[in-house]
Amino acid sequence: MAQVTLDSVRKIYPNGVEAVTPASFQIKDGEFVVLVGPSGCGKSTLLRMIAGLEDITEGALCIGENVVNTLDPADRDIAMVFQNYALYPHMTVRKNIAYGLKNRKTPKDVIAQKVDEAAKMLNLTDYLDRKPAQLSGGQRQRVAMGRAIVRDPALFLFDEPLSNLDAKLRNQMRIEIKALQRRLGVTSIYVTHDQVEAMTMADRIIVLNGGRIEQIGTPSEIYHNPASTFVASFMGAPPMNLVAAEMQDGRLSFAGLELPLASSLRGPVTLGLRPEDLIIDSHGPLAMEVELIEELGAHRLLHGQVDGQRLTVHLAKEEQVALGPLRLSCRVQNLCLFHPETGARMEGGFAFNLAQTRQEERV
């Protein structure tokens, strides 16, 4: 159990590429933090620096009270689960799980007891004498977890542990990992490119893009108050609709939508609308041309155009829709405005003059 503190941790590779720009954040004891971002965003590099598998170019990394920049991975009191499991193929499951303890000169009876405990916890008791090659993907993943938990580390590190599993198993393992982490209460850092994993598992999410931290927040904060167009479009499936709109004289206008806005902004802005905040409304201000309907069982997604800009609408299954023209209105509380060029969020908590909007009445 420990908290992890990064103070301007930076990574520059010998070829001059800056993989991680100075990153500072703190992870509380027992917290489950997910690093998420597209491939090449530096999330794995950051994790590997915390693990000690990559050198830290600048900055300080603390696990617990101590700066561990120069410590060997083995001495950092961490355990890591790898994407391809990295089990030792020539050892049985039992030996795989026990190897880390054996290297730390743990007495034999303690090892046996801990391995049994971990195996019971992970439903691996019947497989202890098998080799990794004789196990399914999910079982191998559990062995990798077992190898991590027998050591009682201060910190768990997960490097995309579920991306080699099929979709069904992934959902199941996601729940298992989360439940296990809750039960053990070990601080965890989890790297993934899958925003669903990030949203469902994290206590807090750190969104990375191009080696830079875009936003840190709880899943709900990230979803409802994205700090940039990147976060807005990366988190959430389907992603937030981002359309070009115009601010003038305290009014925001997009297609037929006119919103009075207590803001001194003027000029073009990027307007962010979550697909589920758009609602069918025969008197609505937005005219949409529906081009495609995605049937997802519990709900439907409409894809189409409004004023020449692509838009996706999330609909409950009860609503009847057809291809062709449709009128929409939107729930304005959740609108986001972004800078049209930098993509940064504008006016964090700007206030709509809700009383004056006609959409208000409909919500």
Partner: protein, 298 residues
């Protein structure tokens, strides 16, 4: 109805079709096998025939009754002057040379490859290519300086002198390097987090993973060492240090100079004995070979 369904249920065994191409294939293979086998047959024939008959008629068509006698002579009687180079003693020397050669080359090749692949050494690639280019310099090229060094170190007529000057192996280093590079990076990292240092990682993980590679190298290197002729001829002058391959030659040679008939039978028995261990090793390790190819467990 019942009849029909029954007859339909019996599986129809398709008759093997007769193909001329198959016959031709087999004919070629059988001929090839016979040609390969013939020298061995002559070897056995000569070994079982009295030397006088071999001298008179050359290799014959019938097996004689001297195999047992020749075998005893070959194994337990010494040729030469000192009486030390019995077949058994030479067999022992050859075994030591072959095994020492194989194990030495494997150990040194593995360790060199380990250093090149896993450690951040300056000029590691350069060092590797330097090692690799020595493949272009076989023993024969450097045999005089090698001999001189061995002689000056006082290693003539010793097992150390037989084995050590030839023990560095570019081939083994190369194969192990290629193999190590194919071992997933995560395995190294997992071991590091599990607290295994470089030595532990090598012994606990890399060596067991390389089993099949080691077996393959063992076959190649043992046979290579066993069949060495030139180097043992130069380094061993005492008969007690002779290897089998060297000893066969000596039996025929020494006696040809005198008035006696060369002991063809005895020499050929030695030749048979010299052939057996490499064959046995290939047969024994072959199953490992196949296992390594089919059960990839990296």
């Amino acid at each position: 109805m019942a009849d029909i369904s029954l007859s339909a249920a019996t599986p129809v065994v398709p008759r093997r079709r007769f193909r001329w191409s198959t016959v031709v294939d087999h004919a070629i293979l059988i001929t090839g096998a016979l040609i390969m086998f013939l020298p061995l047959l002559i070897l056995v024939q000569t070994a079982s025939t009295p030397d006088v008959e071999t001298m008179k008629y050359g290799p014959g068509l019938y097996f004689g009754d001297q195999l047992d006698d020749n075998f005893r002579k070959a194994l337990f009687e010494a040729s030469g002057f000192s009486g030390e180079n019995t077949g058994l003693a030479m067999f022992k020397n050859s075994m030591i040379l072959g095994l020492g050669f194989a194990f030495g080359k494997i150990i040194i090749g593995m360790m060199a490859a380990y250093a090149i692949v896993y450690f951040r050494l300056r000029f590691a690639t350069f060092a590797f290519w330097l090692i690799f280019t020595t493949l272009l310099l076989p023993l024969e090229v450097r045999i005089l300086p090698s001999y001189e060094i061995t002689q000056k170190l006082g290693l003539l007529n010793s097992y150390t002198g037989l084995i050590v000057p030839l023990i560095a192996s570019a081939t083994a280093t190369f194969f192990f390097r290629q193999f190590f590079r194919s071992v997933p990076e995560e395995l190294v990292e997992a071991a590091r987090i599990d607290g295994a240092g470089p030595v532990k990682f090598f012994i606990d993980i890399l060596v067991p993973l390389s089993q099949t590679m080691i077996a393959a190298m063992f076959i190649i290197m043992f046979v290579y060492g066993w069949n060495q002729y030139l180097w043992p001829t130069m380094v061993t002058t005492e008969e007690g240090m002779y290897t089998l391959v060297r000893g066969i030659k000596q039996i025929v040679q020494v006696l040809q100079g005198g008035n006696e008939i060369p002991e063809y039978g005895r020499a050929n028995v030695l030749a048979i004995i010299a052939v057996l261990p490499p064959v046995a090793i290939v047969i024994f390790f072959q199953s490992w070979f196949v296992k390594g190819l089919t059960e990839s467990d990296k």
